[in-house]
Amino acid sequence: METRFHSVRLDKERCRGCSNCLMHCPTEAIRVRGGRAHIIDELCIDCGACIRVCSYHAKVAMTDHLEDIQAFPYRIALPAPSFYAQFSHQAHSIGQIMDALKQIGFHEVFEVARGADIVTRAIRELLKDHTLPRPLISSACPTVTRIIQVRFPGLIEHLVPLRQPMEVAAGIARRAFCEKYHVQPEEIGIFFITPCAAKMTAIRSPLGQRKSHVDGAISITEAYGAVMPLLNDLRHSKTPSTATPLGVGWGSAGGEAAATRHENTLAVDGIENVIRVLEEVELGKLSDLDFLETAACVGGCVGGPLVYDNNFVARNTLKSITRAMPQQDPQETVDLGCFNQSSLLMEQPIMPNDTQLKLSEDMEEALDKMKLMDEILERLPGYDCGSCGSPSCRTFAEDIVRGYCVEMDCIFLLKDRLKLMAQQMVDLSQTQRELMGKEAANAKTARETGAENAE
């Protein structure tokens, strides 16, 4: 299988081989071997949970940097709605932020929130189609789409078959810039201001399309540092936002579902919660539901691993921004007739990626391995301590049958074995002494007999 690009990486120098990331990975994609962490590519969904918990900052997100944008003669910034929510301590408008982005090297700014408005309109249309499976599951969060590929391939058909707002925005932005300034599409560099590593991955290894319209991604934290000092001087900005409050609202949990203006929706945030709800969908328990919004990060995109502000504060900031905006609806601002379907629909299907979970391609072999795994699991202590380098006793047993480690990598089994060996050595040494004692007794008897004879 082709190894995918991952933006979540390990800084080998910094990794101490502890078990923090190991225990927090929702897909059990990390192992500690040889004193440092390893990420199993096929299982990693780029959620960034390890980035959040690593005390040594050894888990990093590969993103582009502001100096990288200079590689393109013309540059467009695509701020995520969650970027607007980072400046809680400064009164600010979206226009100010857009102006500031133009001062740090971008020629144009196109709001991803506008892309979200367009996708919102398209989702509303899809919801009218009752031949589509229920619930329709949002495909905006690439981490959720990845986990569906890996763990819930049966739910792929439930995914909204639309491109992400970021992609829709990038497509329109490039076309508009080319027409306006008469430049070649390849002269333009489009950079997403991203709250997460997963979007970076989605740019390099796109979902549902051959090639991304986006050229790179800059973390919100980096863009924040450059934009923040400029905002005060731009406080009189008259630049209007091109988005509606509903499009901007996509930046926090519940925003996408609310934007559909559909009654029968559910919004779930946090990857563990998302997994639990997807299990329910798989059991058919939520088939009465029309739309399921899913965000891997707690709080939605404002809770991304690459954001600056606290996600609860940011949620509130986003709310006050949307309250101050003209209360328009995408129904008024987006004319779907302007888009040909192909520019909004995914151009290729999302494929399952569940092979890594199988113990073997051959069922008989898999059954044997499963039985062996159960036997090994019986012998393990069940502490799920992570000392062996696998996240739980069960995954450790699995890693053994897959041939990646041996039972004695478990320090508790090793301790028992050492105890046994130590006892055997004691026994052995005692056997020796007894022999000597017997010999000594014999010798004593011999001596006494000899003495008697001498008398």
């Binding site: 763990r151 391939p153 049966g154 299990e279 798989e282 059991l283 058919g284 399952p352 569940d354 979970l357 199988k358 113990l359 073997s360 391609e361 069922m363 008989e364 898999a366 059954l367 044997d368 499963m370 039985k371 699995e398």
Partner: protein
């Protein structure tokens, strides 16, 4: 010669909603690792879940068993009572004897048995009032 089947048995307690669903979740995880096709996996998961919840809600306790070989997956349940009075009615969609407590938790839509039957390739149920109920389901692996 094909390998002997993999067997697992789970004890399911009456009214134990705290652990309800754990056996079927474990079954699903194992079948996924065995490489069972996703559409079959989904059918078995639904049937296992319904069977487990039926044991929790309706039975006095019992067990859920799984048997897998290279050709079939078998799910069976056996409980210690109370048995089903009208089996024909129980097999009808929408019929349920679930009490208010179970209904309050979102169960009792009367889809359990019909759902099992619909998802399995072969379905058999035997019940004796006052003694207990046995269900056997087979799923073919193509």
């Amino acid at each position: 010669m094909s390998a002997p089947a993999l067997q697992k048995t789970y004890q399911v307690q009456h009214r134990d909603f705290g652990t309800a669903g754990e056996a079927s979740a474990d079954i699903k995880r194992m079948l996924r690792q065995l490489g069972v096709q996703s559409d079959i996996l989904r059918r078995v998961s639904v049937a296992a879940y319904e069977a487990e919840l039926n044991l929790v809600i309706h039975s006095l306790g019992g067990q859920l068993s799984l048997e897998v070989d290279t050709h079939h997956i078998q799910l069976s349940t056996s409980d210690t009572g109370p048995g089903i009075a009208d089996l024909e009615a129980a097999m009808r969609a929408g019929f349920s004897t679930a009490d208010d407590e179970a209904r309050g938790m979102g169960f009792g839509a009367g889809m359990g048995l019909p759902n099992m039957k619909r998802n399995a390739d072969a379905f058999d149920i035997q019940s004796t009032l006052g003694q207990g109920t046995q269900i056997a389901m087979t799923f073919n692996l193509s």
